[in-house]
Structure formats: C-alpha cells, structure tokens
C-alpha cells in the first residue's frame, strides 16, 4: 500500500485550475474599462445623456466593467466645470493623439484605453445602444493578467499598491499600473469623478506565472465624497489597458 502511494500518487499535482497563475492555460475574465470624458458645466445635454447611459451600463454589466468620469474643458472656457482635472486632460491628449481621428470634444468615451471610442450623444438611448454594441463582445474576452488592489490609509494618506500576476504561458514586458481615485460628488450624475491619477514605475518584465507587488503611489489630499480606487494595468504609453479592477476606499 505504501509502495503504491509512493510510486503512484506522489507526482506533482496537475495544475489545471485556470485561476492558478502557474497553470500555463490560466486566465481571468477581462474587466472592461470605460473612461468617459465629459463637461457638466456646459449647458448642452450631451454629457448628461452619456452619464445616464453609463448608469445603465453599470447595472447591466456589473463588475465586468469599471467606469470613470473625467471632466475636461471645452472650447472658449465660457462654461466652467470645476471638476476639470489637468491629469485627465493629459490622458485625453494621449488617447486622442494615439487614435489620431475625429475632433476633440465632449462627450468622448474610450474603452480599454484606445481599444474602442464612442464620441457624441444625442439621447440616452442612442449612446447606450452604441456603448452596448461595443461592450457586448468585449466582456466575454479574457486577460492574461490579474490584479489585486491594495488600498490602505495612514492618517490623510491613501496608499495605493497592487499585486499583479502574469497568467498564461508568456512573459509580459514594460507595463505599468495606473490608479485613479474617483469621488462620488453628488450621488447623482457626478458619482464617478476622477480626482487624482497616479502611475507606477514601469515594470520591465513579469514572467508567466510570476506574481509581484507594485507600489503605485500615495495620495495626500482630502476628499469629502465617497472614494473608489480604480486600478488599470496598462501599456508603457498608457494607451492600452489590459486589466482593471475597482476597490472602495474606506
């Protein structure tokens, strides 16, 4: 009996769990990122249509998508939106330059970085229809990364870190993590407003099955509204997003 156990049952356990990073066939469902660039200071209803559509999308797709609401300026500066963030504008410029198509304007939605773009709105239903069409195939895609958020507080500081695992059978090179702090300003249309964007250093390499912890940064500002931290695993130039996750900031 002992001999049987010794020779027959002491092989390595087969790593066939798809969640196990050491399994070369491992994967996780990709969380789709939806970044909406809006301006709620302008009297046009277009940003409002989009924000309402995003609420419906969140209800439809739940944790399979994360949504961020970047506020950006509009031409002429006549209409002030006090939620405009310079870092959001820099990110918008990166996306816009990488796509190199159409005009700058709001509302403008980028999905998985520059993977997909939906611009403009004429009603809640029209923009919801367009977003659904784009998201439907994306939410069934898988990612070769998994990220576990690590958010802690120290006094007024919010410390943002993440554990990253490379799944599948290939190494990843030159990626980084982006964290965005979202504030629920009014519980209504401005409930996912991007208030801070910080980036990790570039991670030069992560081998298949390897797990690493990445420090992204510390935010020292004080916010009144409920905060959520979004973590994005992105390409070196920030324009492609490979995985994402949301975490409440307590």
């Amino acid at each position: 009996m002992f001999a049987l156990l010794l020779f027959g049952a002491c092989d390595d356990i087969v790593r066939d769990n798809v969640l196990d990073p050491k399994n070369p066939n491992s994967f996780r469902p990709q969380v789709v990122t939806v970044e909406a660039f809006v301006n709620t200071g302008h009297p046009s209803p277009y940003s409002g249509y989009l924000l309402a559509a995003l609420d419906s999308l969140q209800t439809m797709f739940g944790a399979r998508i994360v949504i961020a609401e970047h506020h950006r300026p509009v031409t002429g500066n006549t209409y002030n939106d006090n939620l405009v963030l310079d870092d959001s504008e820099l990110l918008y410029d990166k996306y816009f330059t990488a796509v190199n198509e159409g005009n700058k304007g709001i509302p403008d939605v980028y999905i998985n970085g520059i993977g997909e773009r939906i611009q403009g709105a004429s009603s809640v239903s029209s923009v919801l229809f367009r977003l659904q069409n784009v998201l439907q195939p994306l939410i069934s895609e898988n990612s070769s990364f998994t990220i576990e958020p690590d958010v802690s507080r120290s006094g007024n500081d919010i410390i943002l870190k993440s554990t990253v695992a490379r799944l599948g059978s290939d190494s990843a090179i030159n990626f980084k993590l982006r964290a965005m702090l979202l504030e629920d300003i009014d519980g209504d249309s401005n409930k996912r407003v991007v208030r801070k964007i910080i980036y990790s250093n570039i991670v030069p390499q992560l081998s298949a099955g390897e797990v690493t912890s990445v420090y992204i940064g510390t935010v020292s500002e004080n916010y009144q509204g409920k905060l959520t931290a979004l973590f994005f695993l992105t390409s070196q130039n920030d324009t492609e997003v490979y995985q994402a996750i949301a975490e409440s900031v307590q």
Partner: protein
C-alpha cells in the same frame, strides 16, 4: 518618235512613284455638308420619328452612293439615299447617326448625335453610410452612392432633414463619393441623395436614416498652451 513617247511615259511613271493619280490628276472625294434633321435641337422622345439628310455633290461628276448607319433605334425604308427616316429607340440615351457618301473612288463620312430623353427618374442607391449610422457632429462623413441615368447626371444633391446641404456636379460613371460636413443639430436625421438627370431634369433619390450625435468641441491644444 514611238520610242521617244514610250521613254517619256517610263520617266513619268518612275518619277510619280507609279501613282496614276499623279499622272492623270487626283480624284476628288464627294463634297458633303453636315447632316441635317427636321428636329433642330436634336432632342427627341423615345420612338419619335426624325428625318436626316445630307447635301452632297460629286466633283468627278459621277454617281454618289449613300450608306447610313446608327448606334441605336431603327431606320425606316432605304438607307442608301441622301435622306433617311429614323425611329428613336424606346430607351433614352445619346445615339450616333452617320452617313458614308462615296463616289467612284473616294468616300466621306459625316456624323451627328441625337439625344433621346429617358422618361425615367435617375437611379440612386446609397451604399455608405448604412441605415442606423451614427454620425458625430463636426466630423466629415464620406457618403458613397451610385447614381445613373440614360441621359447622364447633371448634378447630385445632399439633403439632411429635407434641407439642401450641398450640390455636386454629375460626372460620367455611376460611382460617387462626397463628403457630408456634420454641422446639423443632434438627433435622428434623414440623409437623402437626390440625382438630377441631364436633359429632362428628372430627379431620383435614395435616403437612409442616421443619428447625429451631439458633440461640444473640446479645448484645443492651442487653447491649452495659451492658458499656460
């Protein structure tokens, strides 16, 4: 004397390259006027009857022969006289009528064209964008379509919500690509292409339903730079 005449003839033949016309004088072709018809503007309806004729003389004082031909329609009766009767085809288009006038040695061909009006509206089919397309304000959207008519297309018009946006000249061939500057109000809209035929000014149209998505122009890089 007999030898002298024969020698002269040989010298003449050699110097003229053996061309008898150079020796005995060049034969002249018929003198033929332009084709005339009893329809002054040469625009008729399908199945109309038109008389064509030419005036010709033979400088050689011989007999002239006539041979009429056409690229469409039918001739009634003889086609070997100085005039013919032509019946226009049932379809519209531009048709060539020609006549070859010959004397004993040479011939001259004259031709004219006659337009037969097509009673039909131009054919128009929008291939791009498709029904249900979303256009974003302030973009330029390419619009592709086919437009044709037997008499050719004089102009094509782009209409948004029944308002004329722009007119473009027609051209040979049926494939068109124009640009729609999306500067209309946001909301559902009918995009319509109207093609206007040459000659008859008949209009044909096709349309698709699109939605114009509103966009507030964002701050440009120059504006951002100026602020800093």
């Amino acid at each position: 004397m007999k030898y002298l005449f024969a020698s002269l003839l040989v010298v003449l033949l050699i110097s003229s390259g053996c061309d008898p016309e150079k020796i005995f004088g060049e034969k002249k072709p018929p003198e033929v006027g332009e084709i005339q018809s009893d329809d002054a503007d040469l625009i008729v309806m399908p199945l109309d009857t038109v008389r064509f004729w030419v005036q010709a003389t033979d400088p050689e004082n011989g007999t002239l022969s006539y041979d009429w031909s056409k690229s469409g329609g039918q001739f009634l009766g003889s086609v070997t006289g100085s005039e013919v009767t032509w019946v226009a085809p049932a379809v519209g288009g531009s048709f060539k009528i020609s006549v070859k006038v010959s004397n004993a040695e040479k011939d001259v061909t004259k031709e004219t064209r006659i337009t037969v009006q097509s009673p039909f509206a131009p054919f128009v089919r929008i291939t791009d964008p498709a029904d249900g397309f979303f256009a974003v304000q302030w973009e330029n959207v390419p619009v592709k379509f086919q437009a044709s008519h037997a008499n050719g297309i004089a102009a094509v018009e782009l209409h948004i919500r029944d308002t004329l946006v722009q007119t473009f000249a027609g051209h040979p061939g049926s494939d068109y690509e124009i640009t729609w500057p999306v500067n209309q109000d946001a909301g559902p809209a009918e995009l319509k292409i109207v093609a206007i035929a040459n000659v008859t000014s008949a209009a044909g149209a096709d349309s698709v339903q699109v939605t114009i998505e509103g966009l507030v122009p964002g701050k440009t890089e120059m504006e951002t730079i100026r602020e800093y």
